[in-house]
Amino acid sequence: MPDRAKSIIQTVVFSVMLIVLGIAALVRTPDTYSVEERRRLMQAPELSADSVMSGELFEDTEEYLKDQFPLRRGFITAAGMARLVLGQRDSHGVYVYDGMAVPIGTAGRAEAERLAAKLNAVTDMWFSDSPVYIAIAPDKACFFSAIVPAPDYEVICDTLMTQTGGTVIPLTTLDSDDYYNTDHHWRQECLIPTAELILDEMGREYAPFDMQEQEVGGFIGVYGSVPLPLKDDTIVCLTDDVTDSAIVRRAIEGERGFEAAQLYYPENINSKEPYDVYLGGACTVITVYNPLYTADDRTLYLFGDSYSLSIAPLLLHGYSQVVIIDIRYTRTSTLAEFTDIREDGDVLYLYGMQTLDSAGILNTD
């Protein structure tokens, strides 16, 4: 092909792209939210004399065009796919292994020491005379430590054991299949052996688990909203007489009062945080009563994050009451304003490794 023809084709293609994408950027309806980035997207700035004179209009327009560029998601996806196709083993710290997204993990002794200091502060403040147990949900990477950078689960458990006065329960019942393919969370329907392990270690009596699986719907986790080669996920809720008769109360956001709630919120499968199906998601304090438990009236104070919300309905089988407390969102010193602190209660600190990795966010005042 003659050079002149090549130049004409290049110029025409380039011009058409500029014009078409430019017009598309102007006429398309702006997206409001990016699922992948979990944030609202910039909307068209308002034109005013002030915004022009201050330069704000131009800065905001630049942000708007970056957020609302036509085919933005497609371009970003293509860039990510290209990295994997070209042989990069991970994409932004996430490996894909056998249809499962496996984020790398780096937590170790230092992170465990920081978490231990935080847990000791809570114990000293409210539970110095109570039995204290600690369980950490291992990252998926722990099961792929031969091929991806992974936290040293054994070192973490040993460190927590030596640096707290509590009993550490290594969750040896878990396997990589007990986690979602597209998310870092564990799957409730796989947690019965883990719940049994924890309840046994805490010396609790409970009837054998005989729970039904209720499929809520397809689940796209934080790693699954783009076309990586990942297997599908489904959110399942386990139910039986105990869960059906549980009485649940959630603290009202920004207040110390409670409102009636439920164990499962199937409608949240369509929310921005589908894992909020379990107990409605983030909350400062949730109390769950089990009127069917008759062996004693012992309370479990369950300090945790989102991992604790999905296992709480199972742990309820060994207690008359479970109080779930998230001190990422409330101060430890205010606990007595939410619930009675009973010296004869059991304390379980149950966290995922994301929280272990950033223990400073726990508000121990």
Binding site: E37, G80, H92, V226, E253, S306, T330, G360, I361, T364
Partner: protein
């Protein structure tokens, strides 16, 4: 020629003195960007930011916050500094964060040790603050501002960050600079 040079040198020295205030003890010191404790300054900045952000759809005025000290136990997540660095660089730091709420929002006021390059420290804090310190939820924007020996860190909504920096700039006695973090805190493996 020598006289002319002497005049220039004298004028230059005189101009250098213009930017300093003389205290009662006769010692010449740079003006402070703010007066008062870190908590007082933070309160003023947030008060003004709330006024500026009042008309926003997701105004920070709607968030009930309390103030707590940033210390060696939480500086890694909040400021991205090790406890040793925190002790070395920071005189005092306080954070305003939501009370009994899971809304991702945090405003921090930092007073740096005299002699520390606050702009460099501000940029370190901007890159080091943990976006995952709000649990599963994520902030929209992260911004730092620095002025004199003070740094403000805002991690909240887009308009909230703008309002906090605008208030910081407005209330500071010295020129200030702003830095924004490019959104690198998505959980998505492709972004």
């Amino acid at each position: 020629m020598k006289r002319l040079l002497a005049v220039f040198v004298f004028a230059a020295l005189a101009l250098c003195g213009c930017g300093k205030t003389t205290h009662d003890d006769g010692e010449s010191r740079p003006r402070a960007a703010f007066l008062g404790s870190a908590e007082q300054i933070l309160s003023s900045v947030i008060g003004r930011a709330i006024e500026l952000d009042a008309d926003s759809e997701y105004s920070i005025a709607e968030i009930d916050c309390y103030t707590r000290a940033v210390d060696e136990t939480n500086c890694v997540e909040i400021l991205g500094l090790t406890p040793e660095e925190f002790t070395q660089y920071i005189v005092e730091a306080v954070e305003s964060k939501p009370e009994d709420s899971w809304q991702p929002h945090s405003v921090v006021l930092v007073e740096a040790v005299e002699g520390v390059d606050t702009q460099e420290l501000a940029e370190r804090i901007l890159g080091g603050t943990s976006p995952s310190r709000f649990g599963c939820l994520r902030v929209e924007a992260i911004t730092v501002g620095c002025s004199g020996s003070y740094i403000v860190l805002a991690a909240t909504s887009d308009t909230g960050c703008d309002a906090v920096y605008a208030a910081f700039e407005e209330l500071s006695e010295l020129p200030s600079a702003r830095f924004d973090r490019e959104n690198d805190w998505s959980d998505s493996p492709l972004i």
